[in-house]
């Protein structure tokens, strides 16, 4: 097993025993005695998992998690607690911890919980919103959009459309925000997003390329264009290049059949595209 784990606890014995149990399993374990030191380390290194005590002097665990989330929203966190009161657990849960360890715990339990948390990371179960795209400014704009249509019937789809216009795509954090704001279950929001092809949960590139796959474009060689683009940009339809410059989408008929085959880059429509010259289209988009 590999992975970087940060353990935060004011009790030395806990730190030591965690290290003793986890290090032989192949994890790189860093230990610190306070939230402050831990936050410093978070700036410097990259961790896959944080294990933190809740009751600590100076900065308590909840406050630490809150601050750590600002730095890295998608990191998995496990809390250790000697007094698992409902309130403290609920508070920790609201900060999206993945599990908790009641004190005292045995090495087997520790290993079990850690292994599961690391597995989650691998298969990507943990929410992974992209913080760069979701600033406080955007959150407040989103609030305004939600407020405008909060008590209107059927407002979910227009709100999602505006939100996507605002953020560029619909990461889980935005869906949660909308779900809370409109008082619609998250499952329903997600159901709508996954149903309509207009919505995307993946970020788009700086230039979004849409290839029309309507019948008229199809009979005039749209498939060749798709092939050219996927081969040259090294991405599949529905994904974005590594440098986030281009993303590729197919659309079902843009209704501009007179121009077939049609490729839309950003907001510009390019008609009568010759499949052979497809790549020349991109030179003006850098």
């Amino acid at each position: 097993m590999d992975g970087n784990i940060l353990v935060v606890d004011d009790e030395k014995i806990v730190l030591k025993s965690c290290e003793k149990v986890l290090a032989p399993e192949g994890y790189k374990v860093s230990t610190v005695a306070s939230g402050r030191e831990a936050l410093d380390l978070l700036d410097k290194n990259r961790y896959d998992l944080i294990i933190t005590d809740i009751k600590m002097p100076e900065m308590d665990g909840i406050e630490f998690i809150r601050q750590a989330r600002k730095k890295n929203t998608d990191i998995n966190i496990i809390v250790i607690t000697g007094y698992p009161s409902q309130e403290s657990i609920r508070e920790a849960l609201s900060l999206r911890i993945v599990d908790y360890l009641p004190k005292p715990f045995s090495p087997t339990i520790l290993l079990d919980v850690v292994t599961r948390a690391m597995e989650m990371k691998k298969i990507g179960v943990a929410p992974q919103p992209d913080v760069e795209d979701y600033t406080e400014e955007i959150a407040s704009k989103l609030d305004a959009i939600i407020k405008k249509s909060r008590n209107k019937l059927g407002s979910l789809i227009p709100v999602l459309q505006e939100a996507q216009e605002l953020v560029g795509y619909l990461p889980p954090v935005v869906l949660r925000h909308i779900s809370r704001g409109l008082r619609i279950p998250l499952s329903e929001v997600h159901g709508v997003v996954s149903f309509y092809s207009y919505f995307t949960m993946k970020p788009r590139g700086k230039h979004n390329i849409r290839i029309c796959l309507g019948t008229a474009c199809y009979v005039k060689g749209a498939e060749e264009i798709v092939k050219k683009l996927t081969e040259n940009l090294h991405i599949d339809v529905g994904s974005v290049t590594e440098d986030k410059k281009f993303s590729l989408e197919s659309v079902r008929c843009l209704g501009a059949c007179g121009l077939a085959p049609v490729v839309v880059i950003g907001k510009d429509t390019h008609g009568s595209v010759n499949p052979v010259d497809t790549m020349d289209l991109l030179t003006n988009y850098q």
Partner: protein, 624 residues
Amino acid sequence: MENYRASVMLCGGTGCMAGDSLKIKDAFTDELNKRGLSHEINVVITGCNGFCAQGPVMTVYPDDIFYEKVKVADVPLIIEEHFIKGRPVEKLMYKELAKKSAIPLMKDIPFFSLQVLRALRNKGLIDPEKIEEYIARDGYMAAAKALNEMTPEQVIDEMKRSGLRGRGGAGFPTGLKWELSAKVKGGEKFIICNGDEGDPGAFMDRSIMEGDPHVVLEGMLIGARAIGASKGYIYVRAEYPLAVQRLQIAIDQAKEFGLLGDNILGSGFNFDIEIYQGAGAFVCGEATALMRSIEGKRGMPRPKFWRSAVKGLWDKPTVLNNVETFANIPQIILNGASWYTSLGTEKSTGTKVFALSGAINNIGLIEVPMGIPLSKIIYDIGGGVPKGRKFKAVQLGGPSGGCIPESLIDTPVTFEDIVKTGAIIGSGGMVVMNDLNCMVSVSKFFLEFTTEESCGKCPPCRIGNTVLQDLLEKITKGEGEEGDIELIEDISHEIIKTSLCGLGQTSPNPVLTSIRYFRSEFEEHAGDKWCRTGVCKDLCTFYIEEEKCKACGACKRVCPQKAIIGEKKVPHRIDQSLCVQCRSCYTVCKFDSVKIGPRAMRDQLLEQWVSDSGKTVAMAGKEE
């Protein structure tokens, strides 16, 4: 208002806009200002003119001169020659295909002269962003008549007598639909305009919404009055941003003019319209799914225990009509039902708008009387198949329709006659295919579409179409077996029988009609492993018939693989080890010497090649 001596009507449809018609307008404005002619010549951006293939297009009135493929650089020339010297610019005029002679007047161009414009009567004549221009063309007169001179019963009666049938595909009589809903007493009612034009290859509704948005509003207003609705929605695809923009401008203007809102035209009738943008789901063209979508839910159809006219949006009586249907209504009310039935056949009255595209010379939007034979549309209006290729089939009705072969090309275009062929009129997309199109691949294309767009509610549609698609994939990959075609037919009939909504019930139509008319092509694919059109790369071998080859070198120049060997005056040959079956040589050869044989031929030719040249061979770009 200024009195201009001439007006330049520049097309501002999506197609021409992509050809920079807005920049052309700016160039006109600048140039006219420079020459001090801006008070004499008016430049207007209109809705879609319809002749999209020749875009950007413009018409000069009152002369009725039609210019095509206009570029920014042509603007000074047009002004100098046409407006100052009075000599229309010949090089920008439409050229008749056969004679290559220029046709100056729009009314003489066959593409326009054979059409009858009713739903599209304002196309290219008005600025869609100005309500005054719509009103000047008798706009809102029908609404005034329906609101102040007619009772709702009279309106419905007129509609019933006109025989107008829904233009969205199903062809349900509009008057009957309205009557059902009008009979439900009391409570809130809705009227919805279905602008979720999803059929690939169809763009009639887009053109109407972009080019004449007020006619849609007026049609809805009349419908609302007839059934007693107070609120209307226009459901537009998100892929049509220009339509959304122009409809919004139209709604705002109509409100300003008191044509929407409270107490319209002093009649005491209140009605409001809101635009609702779709989010990209083909199934939302189905009425009940569309209503779920407006409610903010996944757009899945529901069983029709009751009609939406009785219980629709939010369980209230709702009438849903297509954009083109609404565009027909004001003229029917204004001129009467008998005027409308003067065109068309007994059961299919009036006119229908079609979007012509694919392998045809005159791509664009046309409106023709119902009952016109398909051949007239394709050859007379559409100008036939370009580049001397052969007509093979015409696809009607998109993923719910089918391909009509050459033998049925004289079928009159009516709801009943087209259904007999296995296709449907659908919303009006007409995609022409030539001999380069493989019918198996086209069937696969439509099944890929329906598989992707199936909402997933009913297993016959969700799983059945996937199985059909897999079978076709298998056949086009060269793994077809005996019985595959029969299996496709069996599954198709089950899907049709057991699906809930129109999408599922019609999804096997494209493959069924293709098998019906092009069975031999399917058998060649499955049995002989041969795609005679060369589309299915795994099922063909390109070779040159040496007796026919004139050694002109045309194929050699286009071959991206440099696989063609031959000198001047020596018949060429294709090196099978390098050929990637791109079809370039086949399409370029003027002497019909490049031939397409079955897959098995490739190995024979390769062996022969090796023994002839003693060369060892590695296959190019093919992973076997």
